[in-house]
Amino acid sequence: MLNRELLGPSLFLALFTLYAIIAWQIPLLPFEEYETVTSATLPKVYAAFGIIVCLLSIAATLLKPKEQPSDEQQTLEKSNVLRTVALLILMVLYSAMLEPIGFLLSTSAFLLIGFFVMGERRKAVLLLASIPVAVVFWFLMTQVLGIYLVPGNLWS
């Protein structure tokens, strides 16, 4: 299995290689054919340089003397990871629902569920830090600053 030190450079190597493949396929316009610098020049340079840096990093990691894994190395707690994933899903849902159901409803729900996911169980905090915040923000934006906020495509 890849260790932590190798994972990053390996991921970047894959990404940079993919970038290089696309960079070499950038279509050149007729007038660019005889030019020294085209729209593909720097992307190719970046890709080549990036791949070299990744290979150097992988080589440096492999050449490094192996150390005993230390107890201090930070491990991720499952509950924290799950919480982070839940927040990411919530953000995607918020992005998807913002326009269909409108700012007020989606924001209130996002904040309320977000606080809940973060372990907040006090009803007063859950309710007072979500709906009023969404309403006050909506009021400031639409009524004071005159910025349009979607009321919801589903019912407008």
């Binding site: 932590r4 990036g50 927040l87 924001t107």
Partner: protein
Amino acid sequence: MFDGIMLGLSTVLDWNNLLYVIIGCFVGTFIGMLPGLGPITAIALMIPITYSIGADSGMILMAGVYYGAIFGGSTSSILINAPGVAGTVASSFDGYPLAKQGHAGKALAIAAYSSFIGGTIGAILLMVAAPLLAKVSLSFQSPDYVVLMFLGLTAIAAFSNKGQFLKAMMMTVFGLMLATVGIDPSSGTERFTLGQADLLDGISFLLVAMATFALAEALINVTRPEKKDVKGINDSDTPQIGSTKLTKEEIKDIAPVIGRSSILGFIVGVLPGAGATIASFMAYATERNLAPKGLKEKFGKGSLRGLAAPESANNAACTGSFVPLLTLGIPGSGTTAIMLGALIAYGIQPGPMLMQENPSVFWAVIVSMYFGNIVLLILNLPLIPYFAKVLAMPKSVLTVMILFFSLIGVYLVSFNTFDLFMMVGFAIVALVLRLLAFPMAPLLLGFILGDMIERNFRRSMMISDGSLSFLWERPLTLSIFVISILVLLFPLKDFITQRRADKAALKVKSEHAS
């Protein structure tokens, strides 16, 4: 210069702008105090607001947030030993022991005075250095800019934490690559859009800044909470503030330290990639070496000198980092990179012409620093006990609020939900990279400088008839290029020394084992 100062004064003294200085300092202090959140996050969160208030006011607000966040970071370093920003880590070495000894008020007062003097000396030096450098840089041509930006990118990688050089380089290249997405402005060719019409205009700077800093910072605090996170802090953890008065002897003792550290901090701040963190550590180490024997031993145990040195140096460095930004248009740190992006978004091209084309922005930022420092001293010092309560804010509420403000901040600028999805995608990538200990600032710097590098590189190649000879034709270009190469090779020395040390350590271990 006098005319410039007067112009800056008249801009800053506009009551709207004065209000922005105060708001900036307040918000910066507030966010900077929260462990894990630094000036970059604070500024990223403010960008959507600055878009609606004009360039002068926007830059004044962001500058206020910047030094406010550094000041706020010192407060959490001193009170709970949890620095909000890397630049204030050195402040906790002696600040926290002082607080534990019951002198929290004194420590906070020293931090405030040192920051004020460091910031003010920095502002004076900036006022002298920036116009001079701007005049010199008027003679700069495209090739000089290419190598100068190259220097900026290599320097931020070279000055990154030990052993992180290659990681920082990968992030820089990643940032440069992201900058190539969209229609090529020179030829009109589509690049890396993957058939998505939403990517034709490229990736928004705000989106990348918010995703990689504000969102990723908030999420990393959930994934890997600090030992002393916001949730864990209660009243018993926060020491009593106590008196903020300093005796004459104490003032006499720290005054030369503050003077020296401020100048050192400013010089380090001007260097691309160095910034407040390196400045504060260097000032701390210098003062420890300079201290007489009796006082040297007090370092790390509550030395007033040990607190004054990093505090004055980090604020002076923040001011110093504006020199390359305002005069060359090249940011030396992640924070100034965000400001550069904001300036470009305003349609202002930072660089030597900034002082001539937009003198009000140039001088207003410089003059606002005086006012910002005064605001921090007059308003924040008496309010510290109340600000300290911020540290007790529930993390559950705070994290979700940051996520909300980041998402809605980007949406309010583009009104496009595609940007939100992309932002979450970037946040996931940034989170994984953060967990793998990749630094984020080089990515942002590469992303922001990418477009400028490409434009100047093309122009240089055109001037030199498609040859790379522009790199050595002019002495100035050649000098900067050679410095960049040296900076690039600098970490190699560390790598070789480290390898030798590792091998030696392993040999000793195996001999012990056998």
